[in-house]
């Protein structure tokens, strides 16, 4: 099963994660993305492919030369 189709639970609250809009802020810029989030404590799960892909590219684009 692909990672994005898995059902994840919060390790602390045991609640099933639900997709919510999450805001990322880096070097003065804020971006939104829908990510699995614990409805109880608000913890967010960031899939590895997102961290290594889009998030890493945004960091590279924003970091000054």
């Amino acid at each position: 099963m692909a990672a994005k189709e898995r059902k994840w639970k919060c390790w602390k609250c045991s609640e099933e994660l639900v997709k919510q809009q999450v805001l990322f802020t880096y070097l003065g810029h804020t971006f939104s993305h829908d990510l699995p989030t614990c409805p109880k404590c608000g913890r967010v799960f960031i899939p590895k492919e997102l961290a290594d892909g889009a998030i890493a590219e945004v960091e590279e684009q924003l970091e000054d030369k």
Binding site: F24, L27, G28, H29, T30, F31, S32, H33, A54, I55, E57, V58, Q61, L62, E63, D64, K65
Partner: protein
């Protein structure tokens, strides 16, 4: 009150001998002052006090006695040089199809460099997978075998091949543009001094604005990014600066940015420069604010940190659908530390090269990128789509000549000319006597 605020070294503009020099503040302006035992005293304005110099320069150390003693006459690069090569310039011809009143390379009626020599030079200078080579001249496009030269650069392992051109042939010969792209040309630096033909008549000897537009169109149709390169000359085109920026933005994403070069006085120059004939970096910043302040937030133009801060600036943006500029960096959210030539090379290439996806059959991606508007850059995907396709830079390079050469600046230079098997900082290579 006259006050020495910094010591450095320069050259005598008459004999080019290395001599001590000082930054001298007077009436809120800054001058480079020096004395040649044989030819007397010289003073050149280097800052008009329109921006805070100390804040702009940061805490770089001044050049100390005993440092860089072979500079500039011992160049190629020596162990005391403080920056690696970001971009290497290779002259491929001395010929030119213009006869400009200002030309660093004194192009004109010379000859082409033999192809085998050019090819051998490319293989000697290339650091495979890394090198950014700028093919220059003369005017490189007068050579019919330029596509073969571009292919040789790629074969030698150059990661990026940049063309320095006046754009005339790119406008008149679309097949030639296609051949260059096919051979692996990455992006174009095109001389672009204004949107008024009077400027071109004055600087270049003929009307060229329509030709510049045609060249941009031909490059756009081949997905070849063009950065506009104005030489800014007081009394000629300082009034064009805001219009050049607006023209560039309105022709994005084919146009990737503007790279300003305040006039410098080496090579073929009309006469010895007076203070009024020079255009300092802080004057350029000030004029951009006055003429294009609604488009360019002043704190989005940051001092160069690959080269010396007094050698240039860079601003990094996304062009929005309504032709405004969204600044990616401002002085309060940048790291502001010196950067390596490799970092700088990766940055400029990311910005000046158009993404390959736009030429592919992936029309869906093209359409997605086109459709994303201002609101969409607030999402991760939307931001990445937009920055890949519509990034835009405003940069400047203030070249130095025998009048204002400051060895503190020269020792941080990352733009190097390759000649006689040596890498020579640009302003050292083209240094010429002014009398």
């Amino acid at each position: 009150m006259r006050q020495i605020i910094r010591k450095t070294y320069s050259v005598c503009p008459v004999c080019l001998k290395r001599i001590p020099a000082a930054h001298v503040a007077l009436d809120n302006k800054l001058y480079l002052e020096k004395n040649c035992p044989e030819h007397g005293s010289f003073s050149t304005i280097i800052w008009h006090g329109l921006r805070d110099l100390e804040s702009w320069r940061g805490d770089l150390p001044e050049i100390a006695q005993g440092e860089n003693e072979n500079c500039p006459h011992g160049c190629g690069l020596c162990p005391e040089h403080q920056q690696d090569t970001c971009c290497v310039l290779l002259e491929v011809t001395k010929r030119c199809n213009l006869h400009c009143s200002f030309c660093f390379a004194e192009g004109g009626d010379g000859e082409d460099i033999p192809f085998t020599t050019v090819r051998n030079n490319l293989f000697t200078l290339a650091d495979p997978g890394k090198t950014l080579v700028q093919l220059s001249g003369g005017e490189p496009t007068v050579r019919d075998d330029l596509p073969q030269i571009v292919a040789a650069a790629k074969e030698a392992g150059c990661q990026y091949v940049q063309l320095n051109t006046n754009g005339i042939r790119l406008a008149q010969d679309k097949e030639f543009v296609k051949d260059l792209v096919q051979a692996g040309l990455s992006f174009v630096f095109m001389q672009f001094d204004g949107i008024d033909d009077a400027v071109y008549r004055r600087l270049r000897g003929k009307d060229l604005f329509a030709i510049k537009k045609e060249a941009i169109e031909n490059c756009a149709s081949c997905n070849l990014g063009v950065t506009l390169v104005p030489t800014i000359v007081p009394g000629v085109n300082t009034g064009e600066i805001g219009r050049i920026i607006r023209f560039a933005v309105s022709h994005a994403p084919a146009v990737r940015g503007v790279h300003f070069q305040p006039v410098s006085f080496f090579g073929r120059i009309p006469a010895l420069p007076s203070a009024e004939e020079r255009f300092t970096l802080d004057q350029l910043l000030d004029v951009i604010e006055k003429q294009a302040g609604e488009l360019v937030p002043q704190d989005s133009l940051l001092p160069s940190r690959c080269d010396h801060p007094l050698c240039g600036f860079h601003g990094d943006y996304i062009v929005m659908n309504d032709k405004t500029l969204y600044p990616l960096r401002q002085r309060d959210n940048c790291c502001c530390q010196p950067t390596s030539a490799e970092q700088n090379r990766a940055f400029v290439a990311r910005r000046w090269q158009r993404p390959q996806a736009e030429t592919s059959s992936d029309n869906l991606l093209k359409q997605e990128a086109k459709d994303l508007g201002e609101a969409e850059i607030e999402t991760l995907e939307g931001f990445l789509h937009r920055i890949r396709s519509h990034s835009f830079t405003l940069t400047a390079m203030a070249f130095q000549d025998a009048g204002n050469l400051d060895l503190e600046r020269l020792r941080r230079c990352s733009l190097h000319v390759f000649a006689n098997d040596r890498f020579v900082p640009f302003c050292a290579y083209y240094l010429s006597k002014q009398a």
